[in-house]
Symmetry: C2
Subunit: 142 residues, 2 copies
DNA sequence: ACTTGACTTCAAGTATACTTTAAGTGTTAA
DNA sequence: TTAACACTTAAAGTATACTTGAAGTCAAGT
């Protein structure tokens, strides 16, 4: 079975080795074996776990929530309901995030267009374009 | 012109008045007038600005970036290029966030389904379902 | 033998975004 | 008039997620 040093993992996944030690200290990475001189040995499973951490972190989960989830998974049979409810809750959160983010994306797109028009009006010495949706360049219609 | 006290803004937008003072101290809210006894008076423009702050914050902008943007907007003619490049950069960031978040949403959905199947297998005394995509319940195919 | 480099632990430090506290001022109702 | 209440400032405190520093260990190369 292929194993990895802390540096290999660090390079492979582009995160500092200090973060790997931190995640381990926080209980997010478990069963990290050591070699004869005490250096950490990681496996494919750890890589998968770290990818999982990254995924959940992007969706706004905290270290504490991740720790809960992983601890439940340690004893899956006993905590299957907690796992499902935690994941369903997160699914809902991410759905709402997606909804917001799509709106915010459109908002920013409109602002880019608006300021490009403003720039153009400066260059042409033309009157400033007005934006009914964004009186101060700051507003959005909901 | 309708004006608002700090409490009215706080209730209207569901954020602590301390945060409003903080945003002002950080240069995110400007031109906040005071009444005879020194209390803050907000206008519709401030409400719009705060909505704008919330929008950008959701997309991951920091206070410092928001301050830059607003400072550029103070002197739009001189900084039109910086404004456009800042906004285009943010547009790109949000686009990437959306891409990731959609993937992460699907990942979580699959996990919910998987653990529901696991729960079902427990209740039926059936063999544990396997998930080719997620050997340890932690992985995702990319 | 000895230096170099990568690792180790543990504690302390940093960055960001608030939040709380302490001490004081002004308006309002009993 | 006096208590309650909402506000004020400035400074200190908090939460989260790392990051850095100090001091030491170990294996390899010169």
């Amino acid at each position: 079975m292929k194993t990895y040093s802390i540096q290999e993992i660090s390079n492979l996944l582009s995160l500092p080795s200090s973060t790997l030690r931190y995640y381990e200290s926080e209980g997010l990475l478990i069963n990290v074996q050591r070699n004869a001189s005490g250096q950490r040995i990681y496996t494919e499973e750890h890589i998968e776990r770290i990818n999982c951490i990254h995924c959940f972190k992007r969706t706004g989960m905290t270290i504490a929530q991740l720790r809960s989830l992983f601890q439940y998974e340690e004893n899956e049979a006993e905590h299957i309901d907690e796992i499902i409810s935690l994941l369903e809750n997160q699914e809902q959160c991410v759905y709402e995030q997606l909804t917001h983010l799509k709106e915010d994306f459109l908002h920013i797109q409109r602002k880019v267009k608006y300021y490009k028009a403003v720039k153009n009006s400066f260059e042409q010495g033309m009157p400033r374009p007005d934006w009914t949706e964004c009186e101060n360049g700051e507003n959005q219609r909901r």
